[in-house]
């Protein structure tokens, strides 16, 4: 079938955005990413009106839902282009709308800078100052937590998340980062360090979460973010009554 890819283009952060349409041949099992690749590899590259166009800039890597690079807004929802197939889309009048994730600084076209997620991880010091402790109960969730692609879909859909404002210490850091806080905390023995991480996470993370849980619905890996976050809460409450055992190991 013939589809129209309607792409939001922008040459740079300061440039004016505009929409450009591309027409391509695709089947129900084509991924959105494969359409973008096909358009970009055509020579000459022309838009639906036949005018010469610049290659569309977007990120992609593994093409199998393993690296998180190709997250974008597809018909308004944050999804990975590699794992979104035409059969899953409404295709109203044969049109697919693509736009960059809106909550991260734009670099060009569909390419955004998701470095703010990493900045939050660094600001909250979500790492170990101690050899990792293995808590068998937490292992399955720690595994899920480390599987996170840091693709940014959860932050994009979240009504409480505004990128860049977290640096002021007043706003919400989002599920991807809370998830990292949980994993680091789960790998500390009960004690001061673990408590610090959890407090950090209450201040920048779960304290601001309004439980819409929209993150759960868009996570490409369907990670149990609600459960991971509630494990974090549970650990925090417990930590208020714990004796410091970090010296005993």
């Amino acid at each position: 079938m013939q589809v129209i890819l309607r792409v939001k283009r922008q040459a740079g952060p300061e440039s004016r955005p505009y929409w450009q349409e591309f027409s391509c041949e695709a089947g129900p099992d084509s991924s959105v990413l494969s359409l973008l690749e096909e358009i970009n590899s055509s020579s000459p590259l022309t838009d639906a009106a036949g005018a010469e166009a610049l290659p569309i800039e977007f990120e992609s890597g593994c093409r199998q839902m393993g690296c998180g690079a190709c997250a974008m807004l597809i018909d308004g929802y944050p999804r990975l282009a590699c794992a979104t197939f035409l059969r899953q889309l409404k295709l109203k009048e044969g049109v697919i709308t693509l736009a960059p994730l809106s909550k991260f600084p734009l670099l060009r076209d569909l390419h955004v800078d998701r470095g703010v997620l990493t900045e939050d991880v660094k600001r909250m010091k979500l790492w170990l100052n101690h050899d990792a402790v293995v808590d068998k109960k937490e292992l399955p969730y720690a595994y899920q937590s480390a599987s996170c692609l840091m693709c940014g879909c959860c932050a994009e859909i979240c009504p409480n998340y505004q990128a860049g404002t977290a640096a002021t210490g007043s706003a919400f850091t989002g599920a991807a980062v809370m998830n990292q806080a949980y994993r680091a905390a789960s790998q500390y023995p009960p004690g001061k360090e673990r408590r610090r991480l959890l407090k950090e996470n209450v201040a920048a993370g779960q304290g601001h979460c309004s439980r819409t849980l929209s993150c759960l619905r868009v996570c490409p890996l369907e990670l149990p973010l609600d459960y991971i976050i509630s494990r974090g809460n549970h650990m925090y409450l417990k930590s208020l009554f714990e004796r410091d055992k970090s010296h005993e190991k």
Binding site: S31, L33, G61, R63, Q64, C67, D131, L139, S147
Partner: protein
Amino acid sequence: MYDILIVGNGLAGLSAAITCAEAKARVLLVSSNQPERSQSVMAEGGINAALDQKGEDDSPAQHLADTLRAGCDLADAQAVAGLTTAAPEIIRWADRLGTVFSRDEEGRVDQRCFGGQKKKRTAYANAGIGRQLMAALSRQCRKLESEGRIEVREDLRLVSAALGDRGCCGGVFRRVGGGEPEGIAAEGLILCCGGPGGLFGNNTGSLLSDGAAAAALFSQGAAMADLEMIQYHPTTAAGPGKRLLISEAARGEGGRLFTYKEGKPWYFMEEWFPEGGNLMPRDVVSRSIYKVVRELGLGVEGRDEVLLDISFLPKEVLDTRLAEICRNCRTFLGVDPAREPIPVWPGVHYFMGGFYVGADHACSIPRLWAAGECACQYHGANRLGGNSTLGAIYGGRVAAESALGASPLYSAAEKEALLEREARRQSELAAAFSGRLRPPRLRQELQQVMREGMAIFRSEEQLAAALGRLYSLEEEARGLAGGAEAADSLTLTGQMRLARAMLLSALARRESRGAHQRSDFPARDDAGFRCVTVAQYGADGNINVGFRPIGADPCK
């Protein structure tokens, strides 16, 4: 001004950076993206180490012997001994950093069977070891970065190295998204830039592993070794525009390969190899599948496919230890492995060859080191599953250790002059393109040529034909586009040069060994070819291919 500049933030790059930081070196880690995107996150199966905790009397010496045997005696035994001896400590280190390994009943790091090894030696994390290792190592790197012990740039692509008469003094980079080449000075450069999957396309790896950095350094004279050794992973499936890896873990957990013969399932691996069965080394399994389909004509419904059955495994194994495999099959193939077998066929997966390095990971050019998949080390003619993640972490560490403490070769002014000269040269090379031909189209043709020329079985005729087509593509490349696409055009001409070196290396090795199978020279020839194929690009524009003894010093 840095002591050490590291290019690439996969497992090898992160391992090198952490090693440098701990030694208090001034280190800059450069890549074009965040570590979450690197190809290392795609590693599925596991990481090998003789922890000897399964009561099987395992040892690093046996790990060494298995690695050498699977590599068809082409790997440097001394270097591999270093790898297998360090392996148990590397697992403990990764564990301390918080890698979430799968655990046994006693809470110890669990290990499973993998191809080419009789002992349970592969530590794993369900079917996502790469993601778990990378989560732990990148977290450690970010900690060191926030302490000011590592500097990080995630927006630069390597264009070339700055080389003077005494060796390398830094790199020239372009910012992601465009801009002119800019130089960064250092006493040494460690390349951890991954395998050149982009020369083939339709492979299992990431698009980020495009081989551009390796091609650039090859064009500057860095020697490459064993480029003909390309691993076809036996079980890959036809995904959208790529081969989808079905990890060896599927067979490690008991999965069986079969096809239909006279209407009944025929478990050819088990019949042909009663002892190793489905877990023979990858080159053997790939050739067997090829034989079943192409020689016996027993592909499923006449297609290039056999079947991999894991449906009979306990649900719990499918849902945990093979979870990622099942998810990918459902999403990308529309196949539910719990109910039906997975159609598979060998696909380009890993490059055993790469930068010609010694046991200390030093390249043929002074002050240049290489580690991970971009380097030719440890795997010989065929890599064992579970040895790539290990080789990357260990290699990064060894490269960093040998790069540490390098005394200045050039004055600061000399470095600046060399960097400026190189940046200008690269700028001029790119500016020379002014045609209309867009690089992606020509790149697809290059990939087609390479897939056909460097198939599982090769012959003089087939390789020469591929070389002929490549020459005409190189002619066509003169018409590549300039302007916004000039940098990509230049990258593509480098990739073509590296591709030519691969074909020439395959032509020169007139024997069959491991991943390199010549239908016109079907026997292994130890007297003639138990040595390293070395390809080097000369100033005259020709590629010279010769042979060097295993374990020789690339600098001499």
